[in-house]
């Protein structure tokens, strides 16, 4: 072998060894050595809530001398949490606590590494609102702790309403009122549109329709959970309503990733109403939009709405860390701590005893209309925690898309969604 080549190969081999060697000195703590339990906490949040959580982590570490929660957040935002935690679970290197979307929990629950908290000494799930409790429960077992809860209501632009001479929505308004209002507020010459609806076909598109299905006496799943509960009048009625809205020309179909365009339009006084949650209120305040909040309309007097809770999932990293993680999450979701960051999180209280905390009034008044969202929790229902929900969501999302784009009849779109969902429910296992 020519001398030069041999030299090259030796250098390469040395470099490779150096690279690998340099990193083998990394710390390898599993918290099982005597002393502090070290926890990794991937909260998936950024900006204001992340800053608030950082303060909470410091506070917790200060007051709990035998537990150390790392301030490293794992470098992952909530949107990518699923991919990263999945990779981690596969490789055996996963966090102790992670922020998980409520709609993903049922699938995470199939992993035995997700702790079963039903009999936990630290965590008392009954202290939370029923909606929050339900989204943390899978198959009757508590598998996570509620982290955030919200719900959908109608936020309307008072300035645009005044200019158009249209009265503000009343608390007992109906979907017919809503449709008429949207149509009146839509004005092509001024470029104002009545409302917006996400059009990408994913969960953002779908979850807005469940309140209509519930109000029409249907549900996502049937009683026994083996088939869907929205075949028939409830599903068809809901889809037909969306189709009517679109046919009126009052809907802005937002096809951007993350549905940002809708909010931008609302903030720029180009959209009269938006069906959204409390997380947008800080932006509206920043953008100096004058708005009001009204409960979702009703078909027959029942103003059901949907809540989309997210949860803290605790993973099993050995007994010591599991216990410490439960202590931490219990502390994090205590009434005082929940209130401490609720405003930054854009979350509503996850438990009734938050309302008794000092400082609660300040929180409610920090954002106009927030109180209405809190009250609305009484009307809120949640999606079922079943592993097949993502497929039902996709199927229904497609159907709603067909309505928005006026590409199909409600009955046909519904049939397709029902068939696909039922097929998914029949498949055993993953």
């Amino acid at each position: 072998m020519p001398r030069r080549t041999r030299a090259l190969m030796t250098m390469a081999a040395l470099a490779a060894t150096a690279l690998i060697g340099a990193s083998c000195g990394g710390d390898d703590d599993d918290g099982s050595s005597g002393g502090k339990a070290k926890l990794t906490f991937w909260h998936g949040q950024t900006e204001l809530w992340a800053d608030c959580l950082a303060t909470q982590i410091d506070e917790f570490n200060r007051t709990h001398k035998n537990i150390q929660v790392s301030s490293d957040t794992g470098g992952v935002v909530a949107d990518r949490m699923l991919q990263k935690v999945t990779a981690g679970l596969q490789a055996g290197n996963y966090p102790d606590v992670a922020y998980v979307f409520g709609s993903d929990l049922a699938n995470f629950a199939r992993s035995e590494k997700l702790l079963d908290l039903t009999d936990s000494d630290e965590i008392d799930i009954d202290k939370f609102y029923p909606a929050a409790r339900d989204s943390a429960t899978v198959d009757g077992r508590v598998r996570a702790v509620p982290a955030l809860i919200d719900n959908l209501a109608v936020v309307y632009n008072t300035k645009l309403f005044k200019e158009a001479g249209v009265p503000f929505p009343k608390d007992d308004w109906t979907w017919d009122d809503f449709r008429a209002t949207a149509k009146r507020m839509t004005n092509d010459s001024t470029g104002v549109v009545g409302l917006g609806w996400p059009g990408t076909g994913d969960e953002d598109t779908t979850w807005r329709i469940w309140p209509l299905v519930w109000q029409l006496k249907g549900d996502v799943l049937s009683e026994d959970g083996d088939s869907v509960g929205f075949d028939g009048d409830s599903g068809e009625g809901a889809l037909a309503y969306v189709s009517d809205l679109a046919a009126d020309g009052s809907v802005y179909i937002d096809t951007t990733a993350g549905s940002e365009r809708m909010n931008q339009l609302f903030q720029n006084n180009k959209m009269a109403m938006t069906i959204t949650g409390p997380w947008n209120l800080p932006d509206f305040v920043d953008a100096k939009v004058s708005y009001g909040v009204a409960e979702l309309p009703a078909f027959q007097g029942e103003h059901a709405t949907i809540a989309g809770p997210d949860v803290w999932a605790i993973f099993d990293n050995g007994e010591k860390r599991s216990k410490a993680a439960q202590v931490f999450v219990a502390w994090l979701t205590s009434p005082e701590q929940t209130l401490a960051c609720a405003q930054q999180a854009g979350s509503l209280p996850t438990r009734p005893d938050v309302l008794d905390q000092p400082g609660y009034q300040d929180y409610v008044e920090s954002l106009p209309g927030l109180g209405k969202f809190v009250d609305n929790l009484d009307n809120a229902r949640v999606r079922p925690t079943v592993a097949e929900y993502p497929e039902i969501s996709q199927a229904m999302g497609k159907a709603i898309g067909l309505m928005l784009f006026q590409k199909a009849q409600p009955a046909d779109a519904l049939q397709e969604a029902v068939d696909k969902s039922n097929a998914a429910l029949k498949v055993p296992g993953p």
């Binding site: 030069r4 690998i20 490293d72 470098g75 935002v77 490789a91 290197n93 931008q264 903030q267």
Partner: protein, 276 residues
């Protein structure tokens, strides 16, 4: 060329290139201008192009971040090592595929390209498992090792070497030069534009990579720049000014890399002696 055109004080190519260049450069300028807006202005719709005043809030947020220098340094380290390693190993392999006849060369080249067919969305998990077994998760090595040699580089260098005139190489062989010597002393100097291009492209791809660092890195001081910038993106709100500022900062080294690469083109144009 018509007489009328020749009377222009500048080359007529400018008439084509200038508008095209403006068209292509607009997104970058919009990015730069947006980085000097306030978040309120960026959120305006329809969007505005000129900042109403010089807001540095975006730059402030990014540069003030305590770990920002680490992000930059990490990206630099990973990208630089990857570029150097690719220059060496892709030249070696590319030359062998182009000039040396050996059994299995087509199959090997095909294999190297075939590794690209399975999407990274799937392969990232087993690759992560491998890194975990090697104890390299959350280190820069995890980012560097998979990129030490890229199929792009091997294939690109091969195509360039195929194109070089054989006579000069053969003359050197006759003079008793070893294969490696021919590569180093004859082929590589002729392939300067290709090497510069490979360096710039490898730098770009490594520098902008987001998905793999996201999976492989956990600690904020080990982030690369694109990964660090995701911390300005909330679920419902984004710090757009900071994101734009961050993207400008991210783009600058790459622009420099491509400018440097183009230098060698100009040098090669003038060094016609090499072609003799």
């Amino acid at each position: 060329m018509s007489a009328a055109v020749r009377r222009l004080p500048f080359s007529p190519w400018h008439l084509l290139l200038a508008p095209t260049a403006i068209l292509f450069a607009l997104p970058f300028f919009w990015m730069v201008l947006s980085s000097f807006m306030s978040n309120a202005q960026i959120n305006q719709f329809p969007p505005t192009i000129i900042p109403d005043s010089l807001h540095v809030v975006g730059w402030d947020h990014v540069l003030r971040r305590a770990t920002f220098p680490s992000w930059f340094a990490n990206s630099m380290i990973v990208a630089s090592v990857t570029v150097i390693s690719n220059l060496i190993f892709c030249s070696l392999a590319g030359y062998a595929f182009a000039r040396l006849r050996f059994r299995g060369s087509s199959v090997l080249l095909g294999l190297i390209l075939a590794t690209l067919i399975i999407p990274f969305q799937l392969t990232m998990i087993p690759t992560f498992i491998v890194m975990e077994r090697l104890n390299l998760v959350d280190t820069l090595s995890a980012l560097i090792i998979p990129g030490l040699v890229t199929p792009l580089g091997v294939f690109l260098m091969r195509q360039f070497f195929v194109n070089l005139p054989r006579e000069v190489e053969e003359a050197a062989r006759i003079d008793g030069c070893s294969r490696l010597g021919v590569l180093v002393h004859v082929a590589l100097p002729l392939a300067r534009p290709a090497l510069a291009t490979l360096a710039a492209l490898t730098f770009l791809i490594t520098w902008n990579d987001l998905l793999w660092p996201l999976i492989a890195i956990n600690s904020e001081d080990t982030f690369t720049l694109p990964l660090g910038l995701t911390t300005f993106q909330g679920q419902h709100t984004q710090d757009w000014a900071a994101i734009m500022a961050g993207n400008v900062i991210t783009a600058i080294p790459v622009v420099i890399a491509f400018l440097l690469a183009q230098r060698t083109f100009i040098e090669s144009l003038t060094s016609s002696a090499v072609k003799g």
